[in-house]
């Protein structure tokens, strides 16, 4: 920079704080990155709709909620919200009119997000083009349509309060904890729910079923969780959608596409360190079924015919293309829902800039009956060092019903 312009830059720096409210480019840019970390776009965009304009039907066990419009449209968006209104929604789950939000909006997590970060996200959302998108916000059936009832829920399950770093742990660990427990709201999917739809505080990140996908155990358990992956492998998975073991598809594929693949590697690393250092929990491994078991014999025959061309006869898979099945935690979750769903309906891996090839698992539901699917999955869950409960044909029948009926 020439000296001629140097004085001007200095002047602008001095003036910067005064201009921030008018032209807060830095805050908005930071807010955009934070909105990506929070994956706001995933829920607040209707299929094929304008980003952040809301209208996605979110299915919960209690009814369907339509997500609101986050663009600054005054009539249908959050154009009239002040930054304090926004912070209150994020931190307390309360709208400007004082009515409760449902915890499908993950304010139990966002309460941990620092006020400065909330303000940055707000600043970013203000930069979006206002979109007129009226969303019916009252689609929940009785009695869940009574929003005031949420204050009871909150008193039972919601602990407001900012994130508190653990001074005994590294800065990276605490950064990771802040992201995982806050904006990342990983537990919303990966922590089991109680009967009232609250994440069980006693079993954090210990796997959960959501829309017939298994959100796997994210503790450091070697069989079920991240214990067999290095920090780098976790980072690679979040950044690219795949690693030496497997590939993301389904809801996690969407999280990777919209969120983690666009996050800074340092943040992904912090999250990986936190997840791997926060401990181990999960069921004990059952003894694997013997190869002589009738289900194993049937399963092996189906596997050789139908699966081995891609996943290979030793379950090793092919790097970057076909997931490894041997010692793959996803394969050994207590709940086989993902496996059943993927065999019946197929799945497609997420494509990312770093790993653009998005291979597909074909749907096999048309030619394998419930017992055959159960047998082949039982075989996969109990071979090559894997150990997990057998899959029953009732498990398969249940998921097939859901897939066929669409609900």
């Amino acid at each position: 920079m020439s000296a001629r312009w140097g004085w001007l830059a200095g002047f602008l720096l001095l003036a910067g704080s005064a201009w921030a409210s008018e032209d807060n480019y830095v805050a908005a840019t930071r807010g955009r990155a934070l909105a990506i970390a929070g994956d706001c776009i995933a829920c607040h965009t209707a299929p094929g709709g304008v980003p952040f304009a809301g209208g996605l039907p979110l299915e919960t066990p209690f009814g369907t909620i339509m997500t609101p419009n986050l663009t600054p449209d005054e009539a249908t968006g959050i154009g009239r919200w002040t930054v304090d209104d926004f912070a209150r929604a994020m931190h307390e789950g309360v709208r400007p009119d004082g009515r409760q939000l449902y915890p499908a909006f993950p304010y139990p997590f966002y309460t941990k997000v620092a006020r400065a970060d909330v303000e940055a996200i707000y600043a970013y959302l203000r930069t979006l083009d206002p979109v007129t998108s009226r969303v019916d916000r009252d689609t929940m059936p009785f009695p869940f349509n009574i929003r005031a009832a949420m204050s009871g829920w909150n008193s039972l399950f919601f602990t407001p309060g900012a994130f508190k770093p653990d001074p005994q742990r590294s800065e990276e660990y605490n950064r990771g904890a802040y992201l995982v427990e806050g904006l990342g709201h990983c537990g919303a999917c990966h922590t089991p729910l109680n009967a009232l739809g609250a994440n069980k505080a006693s079993q954090p990140l210990q796997a959960n079923r959501i829309n017939d996908w298994t959100a796997p155990n994210l503790t450091n358990d070697a069989r079920l969780g991240l214990g067999s992956w290095s920090v780098d492998e976790v980072v690679t998975y979040l950044r690219t959608g795949r690693n030496a073991t497997g590939q993301a598809s389904g809801p996690m594929g969407e999280v990777i596409a919209h969120s983690t693949s666009q996050m800074p590697v340092a943040d992904l690393r912090a999250m990986a360190i936190y997840l791997k250092e926060r401990g181990t929990a999960g069921s004990t491994a059952p003894s694997p079924l013997p190869a002589s078991d009738a289900r194993m014999r049937t399963g092996e025959a189906i596997f050789i015919d139908t699966c081995s061309a891609c996943h290979t006869s030793t379950g090793a898979g092919i790097a970057n293309i076909f997931p490894r099945l041997a010692k793959n935690p996803v394969v050994q979750q207590d709940d086989p829902a993902t496996l059943v769903r993927v065999v019946l309906a197929g799945a497609r891996a997420v494509a990312t800039a770093a790993a653009p090839t998005a291979p597909a698992m074909p749907s096999l539901g048309y030619r394998l009956n419930d017992e055959q699917v159960a047998a082949v999955l039982t075989y996969v869950r109990n071979s090559w060092g894997n150990a997990a409960e057998a899959v029953s044909s009732a498990d398969v029948q249940r998921v097939r019903k859901v897939l066929v009926s669409g609900k």
Binding site: I318, N320, I321, F322, A351, A353, P356, T357, P362
Partner: protein, 588 residues
């Protein structure tokens, strides 16, 4: 009346190998690129499901992936004295249809032409004198040398992850590779496929006869591979469903596996499928393309203006597009003038089939380009003195498939049906090995493409007419090659052998090979070539024409490796020279 769309920087006609590479590389520079493809979208995950991809009846027999004659066909005749008739069912060759083009359903044999092939006219005359050149030939040197193309060959091979063994690394002959090949700067990206028992027999027999066998370069790849674009592939499973099929295993190099995953992420790229370009529009003086006109799937006509037009359709259809649009002077064989349609060539077969007594070849464990080859009788790798022909071919012992409907070889003399035929099929299936020849075809004054005077397509445009037959040069070459093949098959231990012959006039009916070349050939002289050394039209410099239509004559190899190399070669000229200063890159 067509409606005019907003201008694009680049319009690409056809989204196969050449179109997808061009589209990606140009979109990456930030240019707005649209590819217009008359066939459907095709994608491995949605179209080539492992459970249904290996359906021989649907794909191998009913030809699901191929162009329908209703979409486009040609008329054909053997010589100028005949009246050409339309091909009503594709036979001798099968043009592709849809995104990926022929790059979807090819076998995957990926060769580099030999250094001599690029200056075959000069070379043959220097070595043997004018007298060796066949009657009425229009053989001409390429305007580009092997050395100039080497890095472009390399880029295509690394894009596609080709499996093979180098025979000449920077001038050093490598054991196990093809010692006749031009020097390559580095090894193949992936090692050769595993060879079968028949290939082992061939390799041993050929070596004993003093030949130089090696594993054939293959786009059915041997190991997992991620290409420089970041696209990933899986190893071939030797299922033997390659040619005519989409690969469900991500093992065959195709635009789908190697380019589309990154191309479709480019924000400035758009693909319009099921849209047929009807002509390239020219300015009033005919010296500049203004864009293209196309008809969409609803029959509505659109004009797509563009600064640069790339013809990336199948070679034959590039030639027709030029003829229909008035780009370059049509070839007139009577006056031997004009360039568009000139030097159409093909590929000629040959070889010998061996029937063995105790062998068990397992032909079903196959891949489209699995095979052991020898190049001793290709190009001018052998002394042509006294043989009476120019050219040669690669010789290969291969199994591309052992599929149940079409693969049932029987010994000569077997009835065509009934219980004796069935018994022969059962007894012979495991005991047949073939040594086949991929032979060169030279170019001749009377072998060419032009617009048919009678027949038109549903849009009222004249069909293209193909005038072609094998000439004496090719017939002699093929017969001689079949004898050489027969010697090798016998040395492999066959108890009975049968040589293939080019009998009678060339026929459009039985399948032979989809290696149609020429018609818009590249050259240094605008009087004998339609495009310059950068595949740029001499007459309309903002039109470039990709594909095998640029080959001045065909060599003794499959064409795709050279098509890929020419694409990168032209791309470098477009990005490095043309875009900076649009205009003719070579002064006529």
């Amino acid at each position: 009346m067509s409606r005019r769309l907003p201008r694009k920087a680049v319009v690409i006609v056809g989204l196969g190998w050449t179109g997808s590479i061009m589209a990606y590389e140009l979109a990456k520079t930030g240019l707005d690129v649209v590819a217009i493809e008359r066939g459907p979208w095709r994608d491995t995950a949605s179209d080539f499901n492992i459970g249904t991809a290996a359906d021989e009846l649907r794909y191998g027999i009913r030809l699901d992936l191929f162009l329908r004659t209703k979409q486009e066909t040609i008329t054909a005749r053997n010589n100028m004295s005949q009246t050409a008739l339309p091909i009503r069912r594709w036979g001798a060759f099968l043009p592709g249809n849809g995104v990926g083009g022929a790059g979807v359903h090819w076998n995957g044999q990926t060769w580099r032409f030999l250094p001599d092939d690029f200056r075959i006219r000069s070379h043959m005359i220097e070595r043997y004198g004018e007298k060796i050149m066949p009657a009425d030939n229009t053989i001409q040197d390429w305007p580009v040398s092997y050395d100039e193309l080497e890095s472009s060959y390399d880029r295509f091979e690394y894009l596609a992850g080709i499996s093979g063994k180098a025979g000449n690394l920077r001038g050093q002959i490598q054991p196990g590779g093809n010692p006749f090949e031009g020097a390559r700067m580095r090894e193949f990206p992936t090692p050769p496929l595993k060879q079968g028992y028949a290939q082992d027999l061939f390799t041993k027999a050929a070596a004993e006869k003093g030949l130089h066998p090696f594993p054939r370069p293959s786009a059915n790849i041997s190991t997992a591979y991620t290409n420089p674009y970041g696209c990933s592939m899986a190893p071939c499973t030797y299922c033997g469903f390659c040619e005519r099929f989409g690969c469900a295993n991500y093992s065959k190099s195709t635009p789908q596996t190697c380019v589309l995953p990154v191309l479709m992420r480019e924000p400035t790229f758009e693909a319009r499928t099921e849209c047929e370009v009807t002509k390239v529009n020219l300015s009033a003086d005919g010296k500049r393309a203004t864009g293209v006109t196309y008809v969409d799937r609803n029959g509505e006509e659109w004009e797509q203006p563009a600064d640069l037009v790339l013809l990336c359709a199948y070679g034959l259809f590039n030639v027709r597009m030029m003829l229909l649009s008035g780009i370059g002077k049509p070839y007139d064989p009577n006056r031997n003038e004009g360039v568009v349609g000139r030097n159409y060539a093909y590929q000629c077969g040959g070889g010998a089939t061996g029937y063995f007594e105790d062998a068990k070849f397992n032909p079903f464990a196959a891949a489209g380009s699995l095979g052991a080859a020898a190049d001793d009788y290709n190009s001018d790798n052998f002394d042509h003195g006294g043989l009476g022909f120019v050219g040669g071919g690669s010789m290969t012992c291969a199994y591309t498939n052992g599929r149940p409907i079409a693969y049932h070889p029987v010994p000569p003399g077997t009835p065509n049906w009934g219980s004796k035929w069935k018994r022969a099929v059962r007894d012979t299936y495991q005991r047949v090995a073939n040594v086949g020849v991929q032979g060169s075809v030279m170019s001749y004054r009377g072998c060419y493409l032009d617009l048919d005077p009678t027949y038109k397509d549903p849009l009222g445009r004249p069909l293209m007419r193909m005038t072609f037959d094998y000439q004496d040069n090719e017939r002699k070459m093929s017969a001689w090659m079949s004898e050489r093949s027969n010697e090798v098959v016998k040395a492999m231990g066959a108890k009975q052998t049968q040589m293939s012959r080019l009998n009678g006039p060339w026929s459009v009916v039985p399948y032979q090979t989809t290696h149609n070349t020429g018609g818009a050939v590249m050259g240094s002289n605008p009087k004998t070539s339609a495009v310059n050394r950068y595949l740029q039209s001499w007459d309309v410099p903002n039109v470039f024409v990709m594909g095998a239509s640029a080959f001045p004559q065909n060599a003794g190899y499959n064409p795709t490796g050279t098509v890929g190399a020419l694409t990168y070669w032209a791309l470098d000229a477009i990005v490095g020279q043309y875009l900076k200063n649009p205009g003719a890159l070579v002064q006529a």
